[in-house]
């Protein structure tokens, strides 16, 4: 789509949406949201970017192949599940720590890591499908 307004706005829109998707991912445990929804938002952000500026721009912006992102997501999701092995509790048991950083209590957990994995899998897989479809015959 070659409208000037869309092309100009798209990068900002994409950046905002990706930021929002991270917000949705992180707040997911207590408010509506989570890795799956966050991932889908990020995908639509990338789709907008792709429609506006072409797939080459998206691939450059992603740096990694989207399938590699997906695989990495699955990897850290597995890792999050396996962490429990060091605490002698069953696979996938949620583990929590709440370190105080700059005076703020920040709850971190293996569950959050797992959700991040879900996020990356969704982003990577669907983006790679969309990009491949969009690529047409030339790429």
């Amino acid at each position: 789509m070659n409208t000037l307004i869309f092309r100009t706005v798209a990068p900002f829109l994409t950046a905002l949406m990706v930021l929002f998707s991270l917000f949705v991912l992180l707040r997911g445990h207590n408010e509506p949201g989570g890795g799956f929804i966050g991932g889908l938002i990020a995908v639509s952000a990338l789709a907008i970017f792709g429609i506006a500026n072409g797939i080459a721009a998206v691939r450059r912006a992603l740096w990694f192949h989207p399938m590699a992102i997906s695989a990495f997501g699955l990897f850290i999701a597995c890792l999050a599940g396996l962490m429990s092995i060091f605490f002698a509790v069953p696979f996938m048991t949620g583990l929590w720590i709440t370190p105080v950083i700059l005076g703020v209590e920040i709850p971190l957990s293996s569950v959050m890591l797992f959700d991040t994995g879900v996020y990356l899998v969704v982003v990577g897989s669907i983006t790679s499908i969309a990009l491949a479809l969009e690529a047409g015959d030339d790429a």
Partner: protein
Amino acid sequence: MTGTMGFTLLAFCLPFIGAFVAPFLTRLLGHNAAWPLALIPFAVFLHFLGFNADIADGRIVTGGYMWVPSYNVSFSWLIDGLSLTFLLLISGIGTLIMLYAGGYLKGHPQQGRFFSFILMFMGAMLGLVASDSFLMLFVFWELTSITSFLLIGFDHAREASRRAALQALIVTGGGGLFLLAGLLLLWDVTDVTQFSLLMSFGPELRASPFYLAILFLMLGGAFTKSAQFPFHFWLPNAMEAPTPVSAYLHSATMVKAGVYLLMRLNPVMGGTPAWETILPAIGGLTLLVGAVLAIRQTDLKLMLAYTTVASLGLLVMLTGFGSEHAIAAAALYLVAHSLFKGALFMVAGLIDHETGTRDVTKLGGLRRAMPITFLAALLAALSMGGLPPFFGFLAKEEIYAALAGGNARAIAFTTTAVLGNALMFAVAFAVALKPFLGTAVATPKRAHEGPALLWIGPLLLAVKGLAIGVFSGLAHVLLTAPLASAIAGTPQTITISAVPHMGIALYLSLLTVAIGVFVFLKLDAARAAADRLIEDIGWGPDRGFDQAMRGLVRMATRVTRLTQPGLMEIYVTATFVVVALALLVPPAVYGEWPRAPVWPADMPFHELAVMALAALGIVAVLMASNRLTAIVALGIQGFCVAMLFLLFGAPDLAFTQFMIETLSVVILALAMTRLKLTPRDHRPLREKIPDAVIATACGVGFALYLLRVTQGRFDSALTDFFNLYSKTIAHGANVVNVIIVDFRGTDTLGEIAVVMVTGLAILSLIRIRKGRRA
């Protein structure tokens, strides 16, 4: 005791560890890696030798670890006379084979891989013969098939190797499936999963209505593995493998696994008319077929391979014959055969390695050039021919003593044994004498004695055959009597010695030797006669195997064409027809249609509006003038559903639905442009109607299904549980998310794996299309 158990476990793991380090060691040391690697089987040999005193006293050693306690599956071993004999043969001959392989494949670029494969096989074979648990036996059984596949196909650049490897895998691996079914039936009938516990179930098993089924399944496993007629064809073809493999797998160890299984089952399944008919009959037939086919060959390895088939037939025949004498004979012959056949195979390989040919008609006069090889060959052949004072003589005497009798059955089997043995006698000396005697013949390579690595193995095995024959008393106490006891299931003693004593056995032996010498002298005529016989028969199981494989491929092609026509239209139609049937048929059959829903009286305006909008979206889809509009209009309907979710308190679901709708519109549009569809659907109405019917049926079906589900009684136990514990246990207020990532996290892990694999699949599908066009 636990210390010993740990060491035993280590002994089972050691070959696999060796298989892992072998390639690195070979890169470091070249062919000399054989020396340190041979220490592995040697250590295993020494470890199991330590059990000898216990076993000789008539005890059995069991041990192991629980594996899946809930199914009573364990990793456990049973060491009695039978398994110990096999363990010692496998590790002992294995030691020599490692050295031999070091010399034989010297300088081969993939020697490390070869060492690795053969050690893996060794580990599998050790596990097989020591398995107490049924499942472990099966796992190791199939592992030997797989490793043998790798070894036969080692020279994978040649088509003959690949075919032989595949054939061996299909025949023996397929037989393994019979074994699995048999073991499961055995488990079902007796309720035990271990051989050590099975031994007391003999009477129940023989009386069970499933006895015949179990017997046939077990025989299916044993006969394919041990190359009994008509499954014998894979064994000669397996001679495509490098000679160390032939010497090890296809004479001394793997092919005996089937015999091992029969011997293991003899105490609980033997003694029935079926057992004592099928086993000797098939065994005897295999003996004769193998011996005749052996005479026909001129290739040293193939001659030996067919005599191996014959020997295996003899062993099966003896195991099923049904007398204690026959069991003792089987025990003796089993050990004797492993020793002399292993040695002769290595001799054949040695001749091939040093002269460049193993065609017996093109060899002669090697006795000066290769004196040590000649000595080893001669000693092994004397044992194979059954001449005193060699071990083979003891075995043959015992065989004749066991078989000879007055009734028709005994006479028939005695004749079979004499004929088979006589032909094998001729082949033994054809292999051991023809290449060495006579005038020297020019060979592709100038013949000279091979390196120590190559002759040490055959010489040691051959000498052992002599030693056991001479010191038979000691050997019986330590090895063969416990072996026979384990096969029979009751304590046995063996007394036969190398000193000939008058009797029917000796006369039969003399007859055998006489016929053998006669055939040996007339070998060329015998070969021509056997050739004619086989050519007159024409069709054989080997060709049958090819025909079966071709038929299988043709059938697979036909079935694939039928079920996978490659037209997306057909796939999609089929999918939705099945969905519609699944939704509509069960309620129609069981009469469980939903009641008509009650329309709420005070429906708020905004809810009504959203629903109307959704309905409008559907109308828009149907009325759309081109496809792109239709896709976007579909989005309207989806968004309205998402709104409904939001209104009824499911923000997470609504959120997801919004995103999914957006993305599916984008992806559908992209797919449409990729497929280069025309903007409009130009089909005539009569082609659209079937699709419309299917779509309506699916929609109505889903609506009715959902109505029915919501009319059922709602069990709130799960809801209560998650609401109660979400915050307290999982530290999360959003129950939906907590379920996804914590309570049911393992499900999610599976789902994201599916998402990723689906992504990969779609990606590769798109790429394939690209490749084709380019």
